[in-house]
Assembly symmetry: C2
Homo-oligomer: 209 residues x 2
DNA sequence: CAGACTTTGTACCATTTTTCACAGAATAAG
DNA sequence: CTTATTCTGTGAAAAATGGTACAAAGTCTG
């Protein structure tokens, strides 16, 4: 394994490159230059080369990158060959939508458990996933080898839900609650806050010249 | 207006501060120090002061920030005093969920139009919003003074949908399609790509040591 | 009202990220 | 084979971001 640490920005962009490269392969385009890949992803050629360069030398001077080769390399780098198990906490409007969301499966993530505090919901199924009691979380997380927890509860309960997930053993949290979670260093937290995205747009509109 | 450009990161954090401050005001807490605000938002005191400092001097040495005053100031800075109109293109699974999403209203965004290419859907309502034909987009966007367009169509049609929105007059795009949109400089594009967030988590899991 | 304490605003420094720019490698053309 | 062209990989410069530290300003206490 390479020793230097790769920035989150780079990782995020690698997925963008992979998406584009996959489309190119499908179109039977065999090679692409950093300049054109940059064009297609709205990034600069230098950034493309720097990002890719961190993992070795894929390019060929004078002709560019071989799409097929690059696709395989990126998939390996990005760990697209493994599947991870996911648990969703909260089965309200948002939680239910997430349970139905096909994107998890598409990205090798398998939603294998759902939890809710409402005892009336326990034992029922949503999109084929059984709803369990929060109390059974430690047992189920361990049994089903779940490593990603999705927090889809109201803000007030978000910190608590996240702590329970971490205590039960997950190492990544995907947080949909619009609140800042305090988590130990070792836990990876990813906030998905649609409100804030929307608000940023408001700011742009209010301040555009 | 201040002349220097404010970074997107700062803007995003201002909304976090505002959220926290709003909660504090509700709890009748009158002042707060940058240190404590930082604690509550998982940011450092210096960053809080630096962010706020870019818009003037709100703090009082020795006692901190007046929550009521700061709330008003932030709301003004962030344009929360105005309401913006939104149109959603695409009324499939995701589009429908967005039309039902209460977060828009909560953030002074009003979804006043929806468009779909499927003629069978036109004329129907989802969550109280009428679905119109893409052809009528220019007229409706203008009439209803819509400034934000939400792209909730499949990747293949995303670029086209975005271009139509921009041609009709919107200046911000919220893009849910997992593809990179090419847009004129002046248009603000915000990508919301749950897949990529998920994938980044996968990468973290695959490479955590 | 003096001295101890708190807390801001900012200048300075460190680190990370982005951009620039160019030597050298591969290709293409005559 | 030689020359022109394309395009990578990467140092070095520049910009952005984040963190430290402290003077100055305000508050609190007796």
């Amino acid at each position: 394994m390479s020793t230097k640490k790769i920035s989150e920005g780079t990782i995020s962009r690698l997925f963008i490159y992979l998406r584009e490269i996959t489309a190119l392969v499908r179109m039977n385009i065999r090679t692409i230059s950093s300049a054109e890949l940059g064009e297609r992803t709205n990034l600069t050629d230098a950034k493309v080369r720097k990002d890719l360069g961190q993992f070795g030398q894929f390019g060929v001077s004078g002709s560019g990158y071989d799409t097929g080769e690059l696709k395989v390399a990126l998939e390996r780098i990005l760990g697209k060959d493994k599947t991870w198990n996911v648990a969703v906490v909260g089965t309200g409007q948002l939680g239910s939508a997430l349970l139905a969301y096909p994107g998890f499966k598409q990205h090798k993530l398998s939603v294998v458990a759902a939890f809710d505090a409402d005892t009336k919901k326990i034992g029922k199924k949503i999109s084929g996933v059984m709803i369990d009691s929060i109390e059974d979380m430690p047992k189920i997380i361990k049994e089903k080898k779940i490593s990603i927890g999705v927090v889809a509860v109201p803000s007030e309960s978000a910190q608590d839900a996240a702590e329970k997930l971490v205590a039960a053993g997950v190492s990544c949290i995907l947080n949909f609650a619009p609140t800042s979670l305090s988590m130990p260093e070792k836990v990876k937290v990813k906030d998905v806050d649609l409100s804030r995205e929307l608000e940023t747009l408001s700011y742009f509109l209010a301040n555009k010249r």
